[in-house]
Symmetry: C2
Subunit: 150 residues, 2 copies
DNA sequence: CTACATCCTGTAGCAACTACAGGATCAAGG
DNA sequence: CCTTGATCCTGTAGTTGCTACAGGATGTAG
């Protein structure tokens, strides 16, 4: 009988499929994360199969949540480093999140401009029974030659 | 003196660099569009260089505008086909644009949810001088184990 | 004639996966 | 013991819409 280990013991390891079901991350994606060094390589069974413990589950869930929030892989890498108990730095984490928030806001602004243009053009299309197509017109703005051809 | 032609005549051809400057599309991108069949392959000079006329300029400008509006390549292919004088179909064009508008709106909705979560979390971070990091907490929601470790 | 700009083809890389192909291994039933 | 089907393995190629070379062939100006 071995003495109790400091860490709760890896105990029962699960195969990749179970980790996948548990975290909602595709098997291929898990292997991909391992390959790019996002997820530490787990120990293997005698026959070479990956055996995961609870710590991988935690990390993977963290990654999945961060991805859902739109963080990029490299950013998540940074967050994971900052999340380690010994280097924990709320200020830096906040900075990263704030930068990401900025880029999300920029994307929203971009998309809103598109939305406006598209919706206005389409509205013109249903309202105005003009001979030309307003959508195609929009795409050909500034090119009178093409309208002559039609 | 020749009679006026229907099409303004290809006349003076320009090299790819000029087409690029004229349309604001990178040279590599122009060749890429040709390779994937978006832009018809132009005639070549004796030494094998591409020689472009005004019609390529029109098509390429159309593509660039559609890309700016967020249309995907395949969608633009469809639009180009529908824009041809002989197959012109405003109804179908409208349908495509409407579908695209829908997807733009869906993306905006998604991003707004993200924006809300991120901004609220970050606000909590500056307001609340809690021991734990709210951002990391958010990413670890539903996993009490990790908080014990910290 | 020699720079230097511009052009050519072809390949590889980006993000962040996804989808096989072609095997090996495992667990359960007969 | 053997077979069946699920699961796992590695490795490669595809996705989208380009961008960035490498390594060479022309074109143009002084």
């Amino acid at each position: 009988m071995r003495p109790v280990k400091a860490l709760p013991a890896p105990a029962d390891g699960m195969p990749i499929g179970e980790l996948s079901r548990l975290t909602g991350v595709h098997i291929e994606t898990i292997r991909y994360y391992e390959k790019i060094g996002m997820l530490p390589a787990p120990p293997r069974s005698k026959s070479g199969r990956r055996v995961y413990g609870p710590s991988q589950t935690r990390i993977l869930t963290f990654i999945r949540r961060a991805r859902e929030l739109g963080f990029g892989i490299d950013t998540i890498r940074a967050l994971l480093a900052l999340a380690e108990p010994e280097h924990i730095s709320c200020a830096q984490v906040r900075e990263i999140a704030a930068a990401h928030l900025e880029s999300v806001r920029a994307k929203i602004a971009d998309l809103k401009r598109l939305e406006k243009i598209l919706s206005q053009t389409i509205a013109r299309c249903s309202a105005d029974p003009a001979p030309a197509c307003p959508v195609l017109d929009m795409l050909n703005v500034g090119d009178p030659a093409i309208n002559q051809e039609f």
